[in-house]
Symmetry: C2
């Protein structure tokens, strides 16, 4: 069972970005202080390298088809304190110091909604910031 991949991360095993042709791996950002999961975004190899070299989270935007330096527009950047990869080397976990709100909707985390067994949806926290103030 111990067939740990030698190369980390293994972008060849990534999912295909149909728009750009890139191979992308999911990257989870977790708040290094609270432990809260803040968001999930995607990385190609360039985003990975820039994240490691700068210590700031850089993702690949599937919708825009280019690197997304988190916080470039909003100021809500993520300082990367620790980087992990999973057993299969196809998922990345960043432990980050989050400035402001991780979510473009103005919430601390993109996971601000819970889903019940009956598919009911509950928002259980207030916005930290008004998105119109940040992106408007």
């Amino acid at each position: 069972m111990s067939d740990l991949p030698a190369s980390l991360p293994n972008f060849a095993a990534g999912v295909l970005c149909e728009a750009s042709g890139d191979r992308l791996l999911p990257a989870i950002a977790q708040d290094v202080n609270s432990g809260r999961v803040l968001m999930l975004a995607w990385m190609n190899e360039s985003a990975w390298k820039e994240t490691l070299s700068t210590g700031r989270a850089v993702y690949f935007s599937r919708s825009r088809g280019k690197l997304w330096r988190k916080g470039e527009t909003s100021g809500h950047q993520q300082l990367v304190r620790r980087v992990q990869v999973d057993c299969d080397a196809d998922t990345i976990l960043l432990h980050v110091d989050q400035t402001g709100a991780a979510c473009h909707e103005g919430y601390a985390s993109c996971f601000f909604r819970s889903v019940g067994a009956d598919n009911s949806i509950e928002i259980h926290e207030p916005r930290l910031v008004d998105p119109a103030d940040v992106y408007g």
Copy 2:
């Protein structure tokens, strides 16, 4: 900015599974007690519905091209205590009670390795179980 999708989750926005043609969303499992991120796997709509109806984590295995009822072979099942979706409704977060080891390598979490800025890799914990005992 408040363009929250009405349908949760939005599988049409999922990544394409090249082997099966399914649209898949990433699903993060986080330990409900420790807050530790345990693993990331994938869900299609069937996996999502079965997870909600049974209260146990069910994923879609990209390699096997079928539903993967977590713990079916290993006994290391995940009881789902809370379900969240993100702002774009294209990532799922499960808060789970994990039995045994989440990782098929025998570690508590699939994230048992850290990567340094120089790409050095460090394993920072012992295995909980011997994979050969579970899957052998």
